[in-house]
Amino acid sequence: MAHDHDHEHAESSELTDIELRVRALESLLTQKGYVDAAALDALVQYHEEKIGPRNGAQVIAKAWTDPTYKEWLLSEPTAAIASVGFEGRQGEDMVVLENTDEVHNMVVCTLCSCYPWPVLGLPPVWYKSAPYRSRAVSEPRSVLSEFGTELDDSIEVRVWDSTAELRYLVLPLRPEGTDDWTEEQLAEIVTRNSMIGTEVVVAP
């Protein structure tokens, strides 16, 4: 694995006032039996595709069509992403990992479920699951194949472990046959999973 596996532990965690209020409501109402955690998850999951992945897709499509932007995105990801209007409230630093013909990148958070939500929205349920968190590290290729992603043996798979301060976004390979596509058309085919690195982008 080509990454530093340690999470950087600061002294303590912080919740904003709003997060405290939301957590207070949710834990209290769940405890009293008025809301059901699974039902809330289902509602959120239903909408999760609407929350953020489109933001990330716009960033990717822009990088595919604008070489100057791509260079900026790779060298100063946080600023380049912010320029499109997507910023983490707590100032997490973004790192953009470029997939190439030789390297496929895949993101996990082994300890919890750190996730670049300003660009990808809410983490999918599988991302937060214990099996993904452990198996992405121990057997990434078999996890990939469960997502239907079969990579040539010559391609190196790199797994990156998110931290509270560092969030990764995968820049997938632009599919062949899309040379004359517009940025908007390209953004349509960039999937959430391709930006986590469990899938590749395919042109329909």
């Binding site: 965690s13 209020r21 009293k32 809330l40 959120v44 609407k50 509270a164 301060e165």
Partner: protein, 118 residues
């Protein structure tokens, strides 16, 4: 209290300002989705009608003045939770303090859970 035909559900035009696109609500941050889901779920469980929710929301907007849409939403959720007796404001205050303590005693990067402060 059940939502009848005259009480439109959360996807109806009763909330024209709900940030949304063709497929439904959109959220800028995870907590917004949580707040959204709680209100919809409590409504579906019959704790209030959607008309009551919309009335409470517009009252909040009037009282709070300009703020992010979901900040109004969250404040309304707190109001309606205490007004319907689902939880008291003391309980909410206490619980917020508990989460604050939990956050302070949780190393950065680990999930924050209640009970971690003990």
């Amino acid at each position: 209290m059940n939502a009848g035909a005259a009480a439109p559900g959360p996807h109806a035009d009763v909330l024209p300002s709900l940030p949304r696109d063709d497929d439904g609500p959109v959220f800028a941050e995870p907590w917004q989705a949580q707040a959204f889901a709680m209100a919809v779920h409590l409504h579906e469980q019959g704790h209030f009608t959607w008309t009551e929710w919309a009335a409470a929301l517009s009252q909040t907007i009037e009282q709070m003045g300009p703020a992010e849409y979901y900040e109004h939403w969250l404040a309304t959720l707190e109001t309606i939770t205490t007004a319907t007796g689902l939880a008291s404001s003391d309980e909410l205050t206490e619980r917020r303090a508990a989460w604050q303590r939990a956050a302070e005693s949780t190393p950065h990067g680990q999930p924050i859970e209640l009970g971690a402060e003990q």
